[in-house]
Subunit: 332 residues, 2 copies
């Protein structure tokens, strides 16, 4: 295991400490909870607060999207594990400006449970909380059971849209409505070429054999829809676009935002090789790429692979996507 590591038990605390040092212009640590990162611009009186949270190891997600007009506070979990209910609750309290708080998070059992508990705790404090649960991973359940799908990189669009809506002075139901529309309009797929290792475990908890790829892999190595021989970049791009757009039946001429993210150890240039083909394939299906994002936006430690997310846009989503925002992971 070739990595920069002290005691594996300290990795999350050290990550958060280094992150807050590195981005102190935008973020700070909650004085009450070392597992809660708060935007320097939160809370704001009368504005809906935006909270998310999730396991560590996906950097820049989740902490990297804390900033101006984006996420106001993030509850930080152990590597690949949900934050505690207390951390979600502390994050909610840290950004409450009297107009309610939107918790926009991914569909994982631990997160669901802990957000539910945090919401109850916040209710006792008199804070109005509502939630949107991201479920954009097309390979994790059939479309008819979309509520079972996991949340992946589409969460970034959900946060961007929700944060922009809150910044516009919208009410909690309006913010929830916009974030829900964003994630409803998202579909994602991951392709894994190599596994990752949790430092406390010391060996990969799943395998991808040389010469193979796993189509539809989850952000923690959850099994995909199938393992098959690794094909050329263009063939992989074609397959990713096909799976996403077959699931996402969009009218001709629809404008879309496209996000291609590396999973951690894939060289950046390969993401551009994939994107070159992906955009051509999306446009060949009659859609129009309004805005592309290519980079390491949502990783899984040193997993080798990439994800594709497509969000269908309307005028409201376009304006919110382009609304001024600043965070370590995303700036407009």
């Amino acid at each position: 295991m070739q990595r920069f590591l002290n005691n594996p038990d300290d990795i999350v605390d050290e990550t958060v400490a280094g992150f807050v040092r590195a981005h102190r212009d935008l973020v700070r640590l909650s004085p009450d909870n070392a597992r809660v990162v708060v935007s320097q611009s939160a809370p704001q009186q009368g504005r809906v607060g935006i909270v998310t949270g999730g396991g560590s190891g996906h950097e820049p997600a989740f902490i990297g999207y804390t900033g101006r007009n984006l996420v106001d506070a993030v509850a930080v979990g152990e590597l690949f594990s949900s934050p505690t209910a207390k951390s979600f609750h502390d994050a909610i309290c840290a950004v409450d400006g009297g107009a309610g708080v939107a918790v926009l998070y991914g569909n994982y059992a631990g997160d669901n449970m802990n957000v539910k508990m945090a919401r109850k705790m916040a209710k006792k404090d008199g804070i109005d909380v509502d939630t949107v649960v991201a479920n954009d991973d097309v390979c994790s359940a059939p479309l008819a059971e979309r509520e079972k799908r996991r949340g992946v990189a589409g969460e970034i669009f959900m946060w961007k849209i929700g944060g922009a809506k809150a910044a516009s002075g919208a009410s909690l139901p309006e913010v929830i409505g916009a974030a829900q529309k964003a994630i409803d309009n998202c579909r994602s797929i991951g392709v894994g070429l190599g596994p990752c290792t949790l430092p406390q475990v010391g060996h990969p908890n799943f395998e991808i054999e040389p010469g193979k790829m796993e189509l539809g892999i989850g952000h923690h190595g959850e099994p995909g829809m199938r393992v098959e021989d690794l094909r050329t970049a263009n063939e992989v791009a074609d397959e990713m676009v096909k799976i996403v757009l077959d699931d996402h039946d969009l009218p001709d001429g629809t404008e879309v935002a496209v996000l291609v993210s590396g999973l951690g150890a894939t060289p950046v240039n390969e993401l551009y090789v994939l994107y070159d083909r992906i955009e051509q394939q999306i446009e060949a299906r009659g859609l129009k790429v309004y805005r592309p994002f290519v980079g390491n936006y949502f990783t899984s430690l040193e997993m080798v692979g990439a994800t594709l997310t497509v969000m269908a846009l309307d005028d409201e989503l376009k304006a919110l996507l382009d609304h001024d925002a600043a965070s370590p992971g995303l700036t407009t």
Copy 2:
């Protein structure tokens, strides 16, 4: 070799094509040369043009620093190989606004030769060209022979400072002076934990054994100052700071910009673990971190490892560092 790849001979063209698609708001391809990326805001009449160039495989460097008030054009080489003299020349011509062109590049034999030729070609065109050669890698030669040192991630600061100076309306000698001061004030070190593979070769062209690290490794796997047992993240951070600051004898209280970059396959969270310690060590030596940068700024395909760059600042450099700029790799 688990990667997204078509024909290895096409990887650079496909990377550039995907890059230009993904960042079309900021960059475009030269109509005359598919290996020259040009800022959407260049050329500007009466403003000094900023050109760089280098081998591919270091993304976001070099192309990713093309944009507004930063690099105006980049000559793109094959993986880990210099761009041609023609590409450097075409890049110079693409950004000439009548006030001369500053070519700010790294100290490698091929780049030196090709920039020299391009400069001669531009002279015949009546374009005034001057150069700064980055040599910030402390482990590649003794300080007494600094002109032999290689250029590494300090180039990013050199481009930022040079681009900002040009944006301020400075003359060519003034832009060269500021960029030269930036790189003179930079020291960098790399630590390698794992090698990378050129797709056309198919196997790593150097090795780092499990349990070992190479201190002072170059951006293409050039041998470092020593191979030793991999130590804890804090011990590695301490050693990086010590080597850089022993070389960089700075007065107490000096303000510095600090850049920690991953080399490609190191998880982002580990960069923050390193940074947390690095900042503490820098401040323990009586310096003050004015502005940190942590992320994958200058990579080497999927090499495992990280680099540290420290730039000493004065009032001019601080103002130029903070000057408005936008590029895929860096935004202020």
